[in-house]
């Protein structure tokens, strides 16, 4: 046991353990590592997209303990031990698309696809709380995310369709 006190350095590495899409993953990262970069660089889950990197565009939205958050405004060290859902967690184990993903494909809810992971996670969380959202609730839930292709109309349609598909899928 050494009593030598080494001054902490900004380059120290921190062990971060998270459960991503049901799988426990870990990485040793510097404190400045954003959650978005933990997912993309350290865990190689590149489905989470990084657009503006200052919390405006919403492309990097993931679910943290079931709640949507901007992963570019969250440090990886802050979420040690947390449960995270990324877009990779929306499809079935065999790669079959989830109901929200199918709805976006069906309703042309995307063009270039860059913003889509964020919208998919917002829609997933919205439908978990409000199974039959009205247009105003959809707009409020999605209003913080930017899409430069679709004009949003088809994204709102996709969420309405996703609500139908989710209901159909649920075992009765």
């Amino acid at each position: 046991m050494s009593e030598l006190v080494r001054a902490p350095s900004p380059h120290d590495l921190h062990e971060v353990v998270v459960t991503v899409n049901g799988v426990t993953r870990s990485a040793r990262v510097p404190a400045r590592r954003l959650l978005s970069d933990l997912l993309r660089h350290d865990l190689r889950l590149t489905g989470t997209h990084v657009g503006c990197e200052h919390g405006v565009c919403g492309a990097c939205t993931v679910l943290l303990e079931g709640e949507p958050v901007r992963s570019c405004l969250t440090f990886a060290v802050m979420v040690d031990g947390a449960r995270i859902t990324t877009v990779e967690g929306l499809a079935g184990p065999d790669g079959e698309l989830g109901p929200v993903q199918r709805a976006f494909r069906e309703c042309h809810g995307l063009q270039c696809g860059f913003c889509t992971p964020g919208f998919l996670l917002l829609a997933t969380e919205l439908l978990a709380h409000i199974p039959e959202p009205g247009d105003e609730e959809i707009a409020d839930a999605l209003g913080g995310n930017l899409c430069r292709c679709t004009g949003y109309v088809n994204i709102v349609r996709s969420v309405r369709r996703a609500a139908e598909l989710t209901r159909e899928q649920e075992p009765t």
Partner: protein, 322 residues
């Protein structure tokens, strides 16, 4: 961009956190929700050598009503105010203003006390605290012991992103006085896009006399000055007794505020906007004052709308960071 390197601290107690802040001085910043601080870091507008993450401190997530005020602990997220059972009935103004903050995703992380300590003049909660003459509780480790003081809103905000808090002080709670029975309230703001910072906005309270005529009024403005501005609009309300749409309220606001130009709006437009929004807010607040439902205590079992509520106060609902 990526944030600059920093040393990360995650104290487990208030004592540990304040000792760290005392030792590190202005080298350190407190990290709670990070929704304002992390963008500043990512833009490299700030580069503190140390961040002190207070999310691991037990007890800072308390939210309860006491002595005619709602006390909000330092790690309480904005989103929790919107879903806390009974809070909308106990403090409708605080809850409505919180609903105007950014987007739901931001509110999931952003903290009430963080917004106050950050002191953005375009933010809603500093204006609410100023309107209600609330205060924050700041603690520091000094002379080998924990010292605590309450800083009233009027002595807290000194400029854009500037407060009278010392670098070694940690805001552990904010206290928002509840409205007296019969007080009407309103929140009005205008932004170019849903969820953006407002070009101008205000929070307002009014009271009425026995005949339902305006008796007093106060408004606090955001995005109109380097700090929240509180105006006593009582004289104008009294002059306008029979028709608040008429000039006195508009004129009082337009002549009292001195906003500046920026790329989003001219000073003249901001002034016009603030005055116009005030007239609207007065209308709505008077309606509410005349309807006269007194706010209930946070601990009450139901809200005036008759919706069932399950929890009373304190520990319910919030997700503690681990």
């Amino acid at each position: 961009m990526k944030p600059p390197p920093f040393v990360y601290h995650r104290p487990a107690s208030i004592e540990e956190a304040t000792r760290l802040l005392a030792e590190l001085g202005d080298e350190a910043k407190v990290l709670a929700g990070g929704q304002s601080l992390v963008p500043l870091l990512n833009f490299r507008l700030a580069a503190p050598a140390h961040l002190v993450d207070i999310n691991g401190i037990a007890g800072l997530d308390r939210l309860d009503g006491a002595d005619g005020a709602i006390e909000v602990g330092a790690t309480v997220r904005d989103a929790r105010l919107l879903r806390e059972p009974g809070l909308a009935a106990a403090h409708p103004l605080l809850v409505e203003a919180t609903g105007w903050i950014a987007h739901p995703v931001i509110r999931n992380r952003a903290t009430v006390c963080g917004s106050l300590a950050h002191a953005d003049p375009a933010a809603e909660l500093p204006a609410v605290l100023a309107l209600l003459a609330g205060d924050v509780e700041a603690v520091a480790w000094r002379h080998g012991a924990l010292s605590s003081r309450r800083v009233p809103a009027e002595a807290l905000f000194t400029g854009p992103l500037q407060t009278t808090l010392d670098p070694d002080e940690l805001v552990v709670a904010a206290s928002f006085p509840t409205l007296a029975p019969g007080t009407g309230w309103a929140v009005e703001e205008l932004a170019r896009r849903h969820g953006d910072y407002a070009l101008a906005g205000l929070v307002l309270t009014v009271t009425v006399d026995g005949d339902g005529q305006p008796a007093s009024g106060r408004a606090a403005y955001l995005s109109c000055a380097p700090t929240p501005v509180v105006l006593d609009i009582t004289p104008a309300l009294r002059r306008a007794r029979n028709d608040v749409r008429t000039a006195p309220v508009y004129d009082l606001v337009a002549s009292s505020l001195d906003p500046t130009d920026d790329i989003h709006a001219t000073a003249a437009y901001r002034k016009h906007l603030a005055a116009t929004l005030t007239v609207r807010a007065v209308d709505r607040a008077l309606e509410r004052a005349r309807a006269g439902a007194p706010p209930s205590e946070l601990a009450a079992v139901g809200d005036p709308m008759g919706a069932p509520s399950t929890a009373s106060s304190g520990s319910g609902g919030g997700r503690a960071e681990s």
